[in-house]
Subunit: 314 residues, 2 copies
């Protein structure tokens, strides 16, 4: 197997584009339900019919089959809506309706409206059921040597339920409700790579974000076909040679320090977790390693890494 960079992008940004094929797009959309909140007449996410069906007749939810809309009708404030969502999901967790809920994290993710207002919080494991936008931070740590750049690449523990044994970015994690992106990064840098907080605060640089519309496959665990539009804030951190990232918990097996060519080889073999591959490709583009001259799909890749969603974002 040798994957192109565009193959890797297709794996993480698998939802069809209206611009490319309006008919295919319409055919996809027409099978889904929109998630809405009362008094906010726009989609917050797309839901599979098999998921929407479970909400039929549940208190504080309205399922409209004609317009294919699932509306959260309970609550008028973020706190009230969040309470309804939590009650419903805890009940569904107990009844064992969804495999993704077996990986309950006790971590809340925010869902925003068009005015960037918090509409409600949702348990992290449940967010793909609603197809809402989630937010995370991804950091690439690298070392500049005379003979070229080296990149720190961790391998995920084989025992991890999701993407076990795959390659990752040096630090990555989700942004919980109420957390600011950079503070989330600082926390993850300590937890996942044991990086000194002072160093991270002074040297980690915000360099943009990637946005893509992931459709969950087998490697994600749980139900497949669930929709997961994601925003990942991207950071670069140049490390001195004497700072070595160390796994801070049991989620990482080990860290490799690889040349750019080594990273490219492992990318082409499909060893990276899909969204981490996207972050590496973005890094290569920003650092002049992938160029219009050596990457024939340059423009397509750059656009696909920065998708504009159908849903509001922060």
């Amino acid at each position: 197997m040798s994957l192109t960079n565009l193959d890797l992008i297709n794996a993480v940004d698998g939802f069809p584009y209206y611009q490319v094929d309006p008919d295919l797009y319409a055919a996809s959309i027409s099978t889904y339900y929109e998630l809405r909140v009362t008094d906010h007449a726009y989609a917050l996410g797309y839901i599979l019919p098999s998921v929407a069906e479970v909400f039929r007749g549940v208190a504080h939810w309205d399922l409209d089959d004609e317009d294919r809309i699932l509306t959260l009708t309970g609550g008028t404030t973020a706190a009230e809506r969040s309470a309804v969502v939590a009650t419903t999901l805890e009940a569904l967790r107990k009844t064992g309706h969804f495999k993704v809920l077996d990986k309950w994290r006790n971590e809340l993710y925010p869902v925003y409206g068009r005015n960037k207002e918090l509409l409600f919080d949702v348990e992290r494991a449940a967010s793909p059921l609603f197809g809402v936008v989630t937010y995370g931070v991804h950091l690439t740590a690298y070392v500049k040597r005379d003979d070229g750049l080296r990149i720190w690449v961790p391998r995920r523990a084989k025992t991890k339920q999701t993407y076990g044994g795959m390659l990752d970015n040096a630090v990555a994690g989700g942004i919980a409700t109420g957390e600011v992106a950079f503070e989330s990064l600082v926390r993850e840098c300590a937890e996942e790579a044991s990086l000194p907080e002072d160093l991270v605060r002074s040297e980690a640089r915000t360099v943009g974000c990637i946005t893509y519309f992931y459709v969950r496959d087998k490697s994600a665990g749980g139900e497949t076909g669930l929709m997961q539009p994601e925003v990942e804030y991207v950071y670069d951190l140049e490390l001195p040679e004497d700072i070595v990232p160390k796994p801070g918990d049991d989620e990482v097996e080990q860290f490799y320090l690889w040349t750019v060519d080594e990273v490219k080889d492992h990318l082409a073999k499909g060893e990276f977790k899909p969204n981490c591959a996207a972050v590496m490709i973005d890094f290569f583009i920003r650092h002049g390693m992938l160029t219009p001259e050596n990457e024939k799909d340059f423009i397509e890749i750059v656009a696909r890494l920065h998708r504009k969603f159908e849903f509001p974002t922060l």
Copy 2:
């Protein structure tokens, strides 16, 4: 006047998004004609009805009012099609049909098909009539000082027909047919800023591209409302303090060396040419000066700077 960064993005990426408002999008599209080439059943650009009308009955062109498609029927090779396009445009230039053709450049731009094959060349000044994707290079030159970064900003000559007197990127130019992006950059660096070729070749770094769908307004000169989807390959060049860009032709009035705050002030005053403002904003994002914490429209801006077009690109 104090413009936000999102205001500046809206100015350069003014075409509606299907994802945001399907009805508005459909209403816009429904008034336009698609440009096509025989045996390639997809749009290469959008054309105003007032422009399409002029091609009615012209040899080697077919105007389909029902499906709203203008098809170039003449020629089966790129060379043959280009000859037809040139003949038609030269005739239209003589008859004075379009003001944009008064700025005839004698410079050809490429139009590509879905397999990245060259379909035909078109005179640069005429490309907005067809609404086809055009390609360019933009370079930000900067100096690292102990007290912070300085950015070289040229002011366009007041006598320039397009965007006269506005602020620009250090180097910018269009990529002509047959030209490779980086070679186009090297040429423009000499012509526009008198930068040493060796320095540009060794130090200029490809850092991505921006893509946006510009709708021409008064400042562009000629007919307004013409559609101009553009790809600009983006480059960074850190200059030593003793290298000073100098206008190499009469297109630039003078170069300023400004702090980031000074650049931000002039951006907010609307003094930058629209797509050059977009390149500066992209620079600020990649260099950690605009962050999720200090720019409330961060995600929206990043996505809008990397639009996926309805049309094929290289």
